[in-house]
Amino acid sequence: MLFPAIVTQLLHAALLLALAPLLVGVVRWLKARLLGRRGAHPFQPWRDLRKLLRKQPVLAEGASPVTAAAPYVALAATLAAALMVPGFARGMALAPMGDLILIGGLLAVSRFALALAGMDAGTAFGGLGAAREMSFASLAEPAFVLAVMVLAMLAGTTSLDGIGAVLQEGAVGLRVSLGLALLALLAVALAENGRLPVDNPATHLELTMVHEAMLLEASGRHLALWEMQGALRLALWLALLAAVFLPFGTAPAEAGPLGWLLGLAAWALKLGLLAVALAVFETAIAKMRVFRVPEFLGAALLLALLGVVLLFLSTGLA
């Protein structure tokens, strides 16, 4: 029991660390292709990381130890959260801890650290980005919790492993509430990862940025850690969406190497599918004005609330 759980967990960790930058690279490459450009090689984010690690970091004058410590805190929290999300296998060693509210809390830790790093040097853009990030998060978080409420009502638990198992059985049927929760989670995922239409991950125009504005002062290994954190966060959200809404093909941890291999193929397929969907969506849509973002997230919040209310309808009828 214990041994396969630990092996799958370690394998999962290694895969996550290896795949996360690759996933970012693939999305960038796909977007470039869709726009008719050749695009950088999907391995480019890995090369960037290697280059950044070689460079000497420069700290801004007036920066405190916060700037140096924050990226470690943020990456450790994101990594911990990502380890709890089931990937190719279910029932990994950390699965009993993998509760959706805790995952939300760990993401909040990394957001807090990011915002503190943005405010540390006392620059205009850093503070602006931090203020916007925290404000958007205050609408994204209730939407997330309400989506979790839909899942918890259906599965009877907030543990991601348990939810995936219940949905994989298919006993809950097709539900509007699940669809609404999916829409809400998608909107939250876009906002949390700073993707279009909330934020533009490719921009270099400071005024339109939210996430990147906080990283303007980071350099060298600190920037490498932040880049890794961003990539890991994207991988985490895609894996989370896959675990809940595409629950087929996940292998139990006791399935043995062959079962894992099948699970791995299914997982790669799901992540690839989501990456393609993200790339197509981002090419099709324009960034919205910053002050429309609250409306977007508010709509996600209300859709999740609607999903919960419709689920009450179903439970009231049954």
Binding site: G170, V172, G173, R175, G179, P294, G298, A299, V309
Partner: protein, 226 residues
């Protein structure tokens, strides 16, 4: 009948989809977006009604579905689109009530509809109860859209989406005579036609689609108006 059975699942999903598009209508700012959402709602409605026809074994519903598909999903959106192009109105509409506030009101209305329908239909079948609850929500949201928009075309769309709700309600109830359904639909269409006529008149005489411009022309306040 319950979750896990295809006939119920699909009906639930389609009905919920119609309701979802009522929210999309509330969320949209641009007229083209409003019309596209309305067309999608009509198409989903047609599917929902057709599914009901299959599930209940009532061929009459297929006719309703066909009518919904032709009128609500194709003809009316096309006509509205022409109207917008013809009138060359500004494409973004400023709602009387903010987007966020009207959506909060919308969720509250859905909760209200559930609380009214569920106790009132305690004896009826699972399917019919849920359909009625969803349909009443769609009707209420249509009304909400009519009162929270200044723009005459948005109000028109609100009225038409209200009719979608009525059709959904009629399709869910077993044994509803077709005549009743068709006459209701015809009535609302007539209303819509009259409203469309007034949109033209409004545009011609006031050079605006903002119905609040009419306010100044009411008889009893002529002294302070104009």
């Amino acid at each position: 009948m319950g979750f896990g059975q295809l006939s119920y699942d699909m009906a639930h999903l389609l009905g919920g989809g119609v309701l979802l598009f009522s929210f999309v209508l509330l969320y949209q700012r641009r007229l083209s977006g409003v019309i596209a959402a309305f067309a999608a709602q009509g198409a989903l409605l047609a599917l929902a009604v057709a599914w009901q026809g299959w599930a209940q074994g009532a061929p009459g519903l297929y006719l309703t579905a066909l009518l919904a598909a032709v009128a609500q999903a194709v003809l009316l959106p096309l006509a509205l689109r022409r109207l917008v192009r013809h009138l060359a109105v500004q494409r973004a509409v400023e709602p009387a009530l903010g987007i966020g506030a009207s959506m909060v009101a919308g969720v509250a209305l859905v909760a209200l509809a559930l609380m009214v329908v569920l106790p009132a239909t305690a004896g009826a079948g699972l399917q019919a109860r849920e359909d009625l609850a969803l349909a009443l929500s769609v009707v209420l949201l249509g009304m909400l859209m009519m009162i929270t928009r200044h723009n005459a075309i948005s109000q028109l769309v609100g009225l038409l989406s209200l009719e979608n709700g009525l059709v959904l309600a009629a399709s869910g109830v077993r044994g509803m005579p077709l005549v009743l359904e068709l006459s209701t639909a015809a009535l609302v269409l007539m209303l819509a036609a009259v409203a469309g006529f007034f949109v033209f008149r409004l545009r011609e005489s006031l050079a605006s689609l903002d119905v609040s411009a009419l306010h100044a022309h009411r008889g009893e306040r002529e002294g302070e108006g104009a």
